[in-house]
Symmetry: C2
Subunit: 339 residues, 2 copies
C-alpha cells in the first residue's frame, strides 16, 4: 500500500525495535540510505539493527557506522517491530526476506519497485533513496549530524553520478548543499569511493588494448572471448572509456564469463540500443541496454555488430531502398516512364 | 587596485564597448565565465568582443555562443572602453595583452593573481570564476537565460571537478541548483565535456601497460622514456588512474616530451609531494606537485623513486637512525656504557 511521507515518518516513529536493510550487491545509495536513517533512529533512542545479505565493499568504510552492518546468520530468525527496506523491493534483499518476522516499510526511488510491501513510500523522480531520506528527516525537523550527513551525501552523490546524471535536479543540488553545511567534505568521500584494486586498473588497460572502432567511427566495442576473460578483469568502467571516444555514438562491451554465454552491455548518445538488445531477448533504455547471446564468440560478435550497424543506419537503409526503387522505376521496361 | 563586487558591476555597466578575454590554454571556467558574462552584456545592449589567444577545444561547442570566440589577429590593435580579463592575470592572456588598448577590469578566483590590473575583483575562496560571475549577475538582478546558465554551470562544474574537489562549498551547490532551474541539463554538458579523441583513450591504455607499483604498494608510477613517448600519447587522465589504485598514497607520471628533459607530475593522499618536487627545483601543493629533471631516463627515474621513498618513510628513517645510534652506543667501546 502506498503511503505519504507523513505516514512514513509516523510508521518509523511508532516502532521501537527496527531492522534496516537494502538490496544485495549494495551500492552507495543502499548503504548511505540505511546508515543515514540508522543514525537518526539511534539518536531518537530506538533499537536498530542493520542487516544486509552481502559483503560491504571496503571503500565504504569511510562512512561512520560502517561497522554496524551485519549479514543475516544462516537459519536465524530476527524479531522486530518494523523491517525497513531501502532502495529496493523486499525480494532483492536476499536472505533478509525470510529471516525477519516483521511488517515491512519500503522506501524506494526505483519506478520498477514491485509495490508489494505492507507500506510503500515511492518517489520515482528522486535522484536517490538517500534524497528521500533527506526529505523525511527535514520533515522530522531532525538535527543533521555529520554521520547522518556523510551517509546521505554519499547516497545522493553516487546515485546521481556525482551530479552528472539526468536524474540530478535543483532539489538534489540543494540537498547536497545542506549536507555540506553540516561538514561533509566531498573530496574525502569521492576519493575514498574512487579507490579500485590494482587488478581493476590493469584489467581496464588490458581490455582497452582490444578496442574496435567501426561504422565510420560511430561505434566502438571491446569483445572479449572466454579465453581472454581468463586473464583480463573486465570492469564496469570499460564501457565508459569507449563512450567518451570522439564521434562514438554507440559503445558496446561483449564478454564471456561463461563459455557459451556472451554478456553484452551497450551505451548510446541517442541511437536506441534497447531495440538492439531486444533482438537478442534483452532490454533496457534508449541510451543504456544489455542482453545475453548464447552463441560462439565470432558468431555472437558478428550478429551484434550487424544489429548495431542497422540501428545506426535507419536513414541509410531508407536511402538505399529509395535508390533501389528509383533505379528499378527508371530501368524496368515493365514500368511506365516518369512523366 | 582591489574593488568590491558593486564596483565591479558599476565598471561593467558604465562601459559600452567591451572586450572579454581569459587565459591561454582555456578550460571550462575560462570559457564559461567569458560566455556567461558576454550573454548578459549583450542582453544589456552592449558591444562585446571575445578574444582568446588560443584554439578553443571542440568539446565546448556545446556552449551557446562558442562561435563568438576570436583569436587576436597578428599585429592588429583593438579599441574598447574596457578589457575584462577573466580567470587569470593579464599576463596569461597571450597576445591580447598587447593587442588591446583599454583599461583592465580583472575578475579572478586564483589566489596567485598578480594584482596588477587597474581594477581587480578577486575571491580566492570561490570554486570558480564562473561562480563569481554568477554572484555578480545575481547582484545585477539579471534574468538568467539558458545560454548564460549553461556557460556558468560549465565553469563551476569543471573547476570544482563536478563538485568533487575540496573547493566545493554549499554556495557552489546552490549556484548550480539555481542554474539547473533555468534548464541546464547536467548530463548533456558532462557528456559533451568528457569526449576525448580515440588517440587519448588508446594512449591511456598503452601508458597503463607500464604501471610500476613499489614501496609495499604505497607508490604507483608510469615512467615513459623519450622513445616510448614517440608512440604513446600520455594524457592528463593517466595520473588519475594511478591515484585510485587501492593502497596507493603517491602517484607519479614521468615523461620525456623532449630528449633530456623529464616532466614529472605527482599526486598524493596526504604525503607532502611538494617537498619531493622542491628537491628537483619544482613546486606545488602537499597533494599535487610537479617538477622537471634534466637527467637521462634511468637516472631521473631512480632519483625520483628514491625521493618518493624518502617522503613516504620519514618514520622509518627516524627509526633506522635511532637503531643505528643505539647499536653504536651499545657496541662502541669508546662510548661509556649505558647506565
Amino acid at each position: 500500500m502506498k503511503i505519504s511521507m507523513e505516514e512514513t515518518l509516523a510508521a518509523l516513529q511508532s516502532a521501537q525495535n527496527l531492522i534496516l536493510t537494502a538490496h544485495v550487491n549494495p551500492d552507495g545509495d543502499a548503504l548511505g540510505s540505511v546508515l543515514g536513517l540508522a543514525h537518526y533512529l539511534l539518536g531518537e533512542g530506538k533499537q536498530v539493527r542493520l542487516l544486509i545479505d552481502d559483503d560491504i565493499p571496503a571503500r565504504y568504510a569511510i562512512l561512520p557506522g560502517y561497522e554496524m552492518f551485519q549479514k543475516p546468520v544462516e537459519g536465524e530468525q530476527y524479531q522486530a517491530d518494523l523491517l525497513v527496506v531501502l532502495d529496493a523491493s523486499l525480494d532483492r534483499t536476499g536472505k533478509v526476506h525470510e529471516a525477519v518476522q516483521a511488517p515491512v516499510l519500503n522506501i524506494d526511488h526505483h519506478p520498477t519497485n514491485d509495490g508489494r510491501a505492507d507500506k510503500l513510500y515511492l518517489d520515482g523522480k528522486a535522484a536517490a533513496t538517500a534524497e528521500i531520506i533527506f526529505s523525511l528527516l527535514e520533515l522530522a525537523k531532525a538535527k543533521f549530524t555529520l554521520p547522518m550527513a556523510s551517509a546521505l551525501y554519499t547516497g545522493i552523490a553516487t546515485d546521481s553520478g556525482f551530479f552528472k546524471f539526468s536524474n540530478t535536479t535543483p532539489y538534489t543540488m540543494r540537498a547536497a548543499a545542506r549536507l555540506l553545511e553540516v561538514g561533509v567534505q566531498p573530496s574525502e568521500i569521492s576519493e575514498a569511493l574512487e579507490v579500485r584494486p590494482y587488478s581493476h586498473v590493469k584489467g581496464l588497460a588490458d581490455a582497452l588494448q582490444n578496442i574496435e572502432v567501426w561504422h565510420n567511427g560511430r561505434a566502438a566495442g571491446v569483445f572479449l572471448s572466454y579465453e581472454q576473460m581468463q586473464v583480463i578483469e573486465a570492469t564496469d568502467s570499460l564501457i565508459d572509456m569507449l563512450r567518451i571516444i570522439e564521434g562514438v555514438e554507440v559503445a558496446v562491451v561483449l564478454k564471456y564469463k561463461e563459455e557459451a554465454q556472451a554478456r553484452v552491455s551497450m551505451r548510446s548518445k541517442g541511437v536506441d540500443v534497447s531495440t538492439v538488445a531486444a533482438k537478442f531477448g534483452g532490454g533496457g533504455h534508449v541510451r543504456a541496454a544489455g542482453c545475453g547471446i548464447e552463441k560462439p564468440y565470432e558468431e555472437a560478435k558478428a550478429l551484434l555488430k550487424a544489429a548495431i550497424d542497422e540501428a545506426l543506419n535507419p536513414t541509410d537503409i531508407l536511402d538505399e531502398a529509395e535508390a533501389v526503387l528509383r533505379a528499378s522505376s527508371a530501368q524496368d521496361p515493365t514500368q511506365p516512364s516518369a512523366v
